[in-house]
Amino acid sequence: MNLLVAQAQQIEAPEIHYGAIAPVLIVLGAACISVLLEALLPKHQRWAVQLVLSLLTLVGATGALILYAVSERPEQGVATLAGTVAVDSPSLFLWATLLVLAFGSVLLIADRSVEPGGAFVAQAAIRPGTIQDRAQATKTGMQTEVFPLTLFALGGMMTFVASNDLLTMFIALEVMSLPLYLLCGLARRRRLLSQEAAVKYFLLGAFASAFFLYGVALLYGYAGSVKLSSIAAAAAGTDRSDTLLFAGFGLLVVGLLFKAAVGPFHAWTPDVYQGAPTPVTAFMAACTKVAAFGGILRVITVAFENTQWEWRGVLYGVAVVSMVIGAVLGLTQTDVKRMIAYSSVAHAGFLLIGSIALVPDGEGVSATMFYLLAYGFTTIAAFGIVSLVRNSDGEATHLSQWAGLAKRSPIVAGVFTFLLLALAGIPLTSGFIGKFVVFSAAIEAGLTPLVVIALVASAVAAFFYLRVIVLMYFSDPAPDGPTVSVPGAFTTIAITLGAVVTLVLGLWPTFVLDWAGTGTFLS
């Protein structure tokens, strides 16, 4: 402790660029306020107020972001809060992506038209299957804590993608994960499934963060600091033991890959995607992926670019495994949410290709970020559609129940088809442009064989998307099949947003591509 005193004498108040980090501050501040509101408002007002607050927050944060980006942003970006947070072009891009995706997710989360009372349970503390539980199934309230939880998770994600040292990254990782663990367990229907998903996600997530942390510790031992730039600098010198560096890198990356649901570290993904309430699944699938890959990109680019020849082969293999697992296991799925989960594993493989394509002028980074944006919107809309197809037990997610959906609801089937085609990467959708930019970056980085494998994997993956389309259009509907709910305004907006962005980015990606490519990481 006394040593701390000694060092405290050198402590100076770090300079804080409030303008730069305003979006994060707004989100986290609003999350705190949201908790207060939750405490103080009477029950019947909470939903409306929380929703308005959340949406205003997202709009406000986006506004602050735009304001900063157009007015005072320095070309290179700034490192603020004693260099722990880097606000550079990729940060801003990813922040904007996260905010907009979160907007869609919040709309899905808030929706109460599809399922009376919303997708969330009224009181999570009640044990499933008891009398009280049956009583609450008829009630229309929902656990409005989901709003602050979502905002906290979002705040964590935003910090995660901008964190310039590994400790900040770890804290951000937890801030984003812990609310998600809880959110997973709050489904109104099939609560056992939902709780189980939460437990699995939590245990595996905690396991993975322990790995991440051990990696941080080893890198700290190696470099004497956890700043990404210090690690890069230390790795440039050759007098230290590489064991620490690579053991640290390996463990760190395992933690990150887990969050990103990549390859062999994907075990939680299908279970959690299936068990979690669908709006949360959408939020996770879109935003967590953005955050995790944002982090991976930054770590790889800033801290480990110099040593890429040592680790590249490993991640190369991981990407292959991820694509193969996603594509092949996706074929065997009979549940639409699990199927999208495996698809996300395959997509994680594609994204990893972009992440390890360290092209000198940063095309790999911008390509991956574009892919993230495109994928996020498509996924949110897809889960929005999934939440519409219901029978008396809640969502009808088994594929056989989707048979002949096009006859019942041609519009829903049409939009879903479009989204599936986007996931498959068919041209004129954002999914294609995303794949295209990632693969071109990879080819320029000399990863051609990987790209070829990826192409084959996407062809295989296309098969299971097609299977759903076949089911919806060419099969006869089951006699007691699900109905398609008429979505309320929120879900409609969310789905429309996702689908329109998917289309627009497929046709005119230039604006976003340019924006993604404006700058590189601050190092």
Partner: protein, 121 residues
């Protein structure tokens, strides 16, 4: 120059030896006249209600809640102590930081309070 922690170790050893001696010696010193009633769980004389093999099974949730609250506030303290030691040197910046920190915890505290997390029934 001794390690500053050595006296603590010695104290530990002495107290530990004393305690261990006591618990080990107890069965040998005292009489041993056991019967079934003595070895049953004590429930004021009535026949004991069946218990799980070890540990009495589950505990009321309220205790878990208290445990969680404790952890949170204990952690808050973990941060308050270094601040307290260095408060004078940290100056205004430290003050602002700690006020924000306490305020954040305070929000959670208010939430728990209003939601009845601190009520015991």
């Amino acid at each position: 120059m001794l390690d500053p922690y050595l006296p603590l170790v010695l104290m530990f050893a002495l107290a530990g030896a004393f305690a261990l001696f006591s618990v080990t010696a107890a069965p040998y010193i005292g009489p041993r006249r056991y019967n079934k009633a003595k070895l049953d769980a004590y429930e004021c004389g009535i026949e004991p209600s069946p218990q799980p093999v070890v540990g009495g099974g589950r505990m009321p949730v309220a205790y878990y809640l208290t445990a969680m609250l404790f952890i949170l506030f204990d952690i808050e303290m973990v941060f308050l102590y270094p601040f307290a030691v260095a408060a004078d040197k940290l100056g205004l910046f430290g003050l602002v930081e700690i006020v924000l920190f306490v305020a954040t915890v305070g929000f959670a505290y208010i939430y728990v309070w209003r939601r009845g997390g601190l009520d015991w029934n």
